[in-house]
Amino acid sequence: MDLSLLALSPPGWGGVLLAGLFSSLQLAVGGYLLGLVIGIGGASGKLYGGPIVRDLLEVYTTLVRAIPELVLILLLYYAGTDLVNQLMHLLGLPSMDISGLAAGIFVIGVVQGAYSTEVLRGAIKAIPAGEIEAARAYGMSPLLTLRRVTLPAMLPYAVPGLSNLWLIATKDTALLAVVGFSELTLVTRQAAGSTKHYMTFFLAAGALYLAVTLVSNVIIGMIEKRARRGMVREA
């Protein structure tokens, strides 16, 4: 194995790999946050919305969870960019180039949103009903209740599921290699292809992904500890 290939400056490909890792992380963070926003909306809709909203959300979560991420990513990537351009056209604006990053974040966010909807719905249902009723009895508006009571109270129940989703998000970014977005996996393949040192580069990329997972695990452990403070410790 030739480790000088992994050097950071141009004859080595290390810098390129790290840049790929950076865009992977950008995608993961962006997609995860968008997914959380969709998830909060979706969970509230599923729990408190009218019958039509509920059924539509059910269709959304079922579809996303039944169709492979790869297929969804392709569909949403093309459909999403197409839709935006058609909208621009309708508004009489010139069509614009959508950056791969924005499209990627949108795609990962929509996929993650379905899963976080389910995680958050379960977590909200685990809150004792009395706490929410108490908030209502104090005259809090639904939004205030959400911010002050529901979201903080559901956190300890949601953290395990949400941390799982974060790990899935970091790994799902690799799928965007298939639509040609240069994140870590695609960059690795290009580096490997042009130097013919396949093993070196794929193992290096694997180590990078693994490092992300392991660091995330440490941080998740700390968050979990903080979210569970004041709760009865499990036997």
Partner: protein, 272 residues
């Protein structure tokens, strides 16, 4: 006070089973049927008959990959789970490390590592090139199969670890009290009980595995996804083939879920 509250609270009523025929659902179904009809009428589907046979072969390939990798992956998951629960320390570390590494890296990367990495490595050794295995090792599917199997084994191995650890101690002690040897106890009590406990998660894992199978198309295995990609290249259509692909996977997932539910209902269990 508490007693009063108990009398005031109404008795728990299970939520009404909602029927498919409620008015808003009929309306939604009509809307979706309308969208579906528009898709059928206004989009281009004339390529369908030409690719029909290849599509069916592709679906068959997907299903074969799914079931063989799930089966062999499960066989590998049992020792992985067992090693993590009772194995000697080095074995425990090994099994744990394997699960962490596979679960911590994207499947696509593992797939490419095996196909491009190992593939190019194998080609360097004349011993391997001349062995009887070479005709197989030159194809793509052994790498796809291995990657999918290892991934299933790692995820399910984690589940089996929980399942082995969760078998009540009393049952194992009872087995020992009956004078069973370690192996008999494992074969008769521990393994069957652990598998029974892991069955509900097997459903979800298999659906996840189905959703991972299209990745093998990136290393030139001709599965459903690869056939659809070919259609897209030939016809320059963007949406129609992809929508059909989504529909195919939707149906496959539905069948899988229904099948597992049927099986689960046939396995006797006492609640938890």
């Amino acid at each position: 006070m508490i007693k009063d509250e108990a009398t005031i609270l109404p008795a728990y009523k299970p939520p009404k089973a909602r029927s498919l025929l409620e008015p808003h659902r009929l309306f939604l179904m009509a809307v979706f049927a309308g969208i579906f009809a528009c898709a059928v009428i206004y989009m281009r589907w004339d390529w369908l008959p030409k690719y029909q046979d290849r599509l069916i072969a592709g679906i068959w390939q997907t299903l074969v990959l799914l079931f063989t990798t799930a089966f062999f992956g499960f066989l590998l998951a049992v020792p992985l789970g067992l090693a993590q629960v009772t194995g000697p320390r080095p074995l425990k570390w090994l099994a744990n490390g394997f699960c962490t590494i596979i679960r911590g890296t994207p499947l696509l990367l593992q797939l490419w590592l095996l196909y491009y990495g190992l593939g190019s490595l194998f080609a360097q050794f004349p011993e391997i090139r001349q062995s009887f295995m070479w005709p197989y090792l030159r194809q793509a599917w052994p790498y796809g199969f291995t990657a999918l199997m290892l991934s299933f084994a790692a995820y399910e191995g984690e589940v089996m670890r929980g399942a082995f650890a969760g078998v009540p101690r009393g049952e194992l002690e009872a087995a020992r009290a009956f004078g069973m040897g370690r192996f008999t106890m494992f074969r008769r009590i521990w393994l069957p009980r652990a598998i029974q406990r892991s069955l509900p998660t097997l459903n979800g894992e298999t659906v996840l595995q189905l959703k991972s199978t299209p990745l093998v198309a990136t290393i030139t295995v001709v599965d459903t996804y690869a056939v659809i990609s070919k259609v897209r290249q030939d016809t320059f259509l963007t949406y129609e083939p992809l929508l059909l692909l989504a529909l195919i996977y939707l149906i496959l997932t539905g069948i899988l879920v229904a099948g597992f539910r049927f099986l689960e209902n046939r396995i006797p269990s006492r609640g938890a």
